[in-house]
Symmetry: C3
Subunit: 139 residues, 3 copies
Amino acid sequence: MGVATDFISIKTRGKTDIIDITADVCERLSGTGLAKGCVTVFVSGSTGGLTTIEYEPALVSDTKTFFDKLIPSNAPYAHDATWGDANGHSHLRSTLLGPSLTVPFVDGELTLGTWQQIIFIDFDNRPRNRKLILQFIGE
Amino acid sequence: MGVATDFISIKTRGKTDIIDITADVCERLSGTGLAKGCVTVFVSGSTGGLTTIEYEPALVSDTKTFFDKLIPSNAPYAHDATWGDANGHSHLRSTLLGPSLTVPFVDGELTLGTWQQIIFIDFDNRPRNRKLILQFIGE
Amino acid sequence: MGVATDFISIKTRGKTDIIDITADVCERLSGTGLAKGCVTVFVSGSTGGLTTIEYEPALVSDTKTFFDKLIPSNAPYAHDATWGDANGHSHLRSTLLGPSLTVPFVDGELTLGTWQQIIFIDFDNRPRNRKLILQFIGE
């Protein structure tokens, strides 16, 4: 049993930029030499989120549309009125989706479905450089 | 310390079918012989989700009503227009809820509340055979 | 490698009370002597949830407003009609947000961002005494 820590650095465009990080997580998993366990992917920061999706352009677009409608960028937020950040909507989307995703792996492979990819969503209202944490626990 | 992998196979009716899998997870936990740690329940696929609920018929109905209203099955989605799958809403609900749930166990028992059950929700628009992954990590 | 279990007891006011538990989680982490791994924070019960936020008063207010609007307390719910509990909305908010959060730690410190705090939200419609479970797995 052991713990292996790794990182993924990505540049995002912000504005609910939806990025497929599956290949990166798979590559880092291979590097650990672990056969079975779980990986937790985590974003340090309060304007991003992690989940899975069938990563194809139409669904990526539908997902952005959904968040834009549910938590509009141009609605009034106390956060924006107080701090002038204009990213109150980014924070709310992140809090709702959550900063963390845990995925099991077996025989050295993530247990994702064929049409299921791990995504990082950058909800902030500007481009960001992000460093995601990958914590692998297993044997 | 060790990792124990197990599976739950279930037939669902789809259409936001909400299934109580608590007894199955408890049974699999007993089989591992582990006393304390965490179990991650994961669905391979991008039209299901995991969470907890007080599993009683009225709340199960309220939960289905909530998702039907928040992300309607008959609204226009780019995914449906592109692929003709008619399950764009299923994907969005799954992405929002998330494919994974992690629950601690102590003294060989899940730390659930008395009125709290683990549920798998099948958001797809047709019956499915699902194989959920249970990854137990502990000692 | 090992597992360390700890607890946080808190009194809440209910009604989407949003409580910063970061300092408590940090303190418990120090007590474990573990350097790297993950902590899962879990609420036993079906009317609470865990996530992260930039914990400042305006965003705390925005988050409460968001949930009040998305899942109103005064809408009709089958749960309330059946049981007379008047907390159907509390259950739905909890099911949506999820009862669990997993955060990596490295070099004995949580990998949170500077403006990112761990929050417990008590969605119930009355004050509650809560005992959150912290399950640390690492080395």
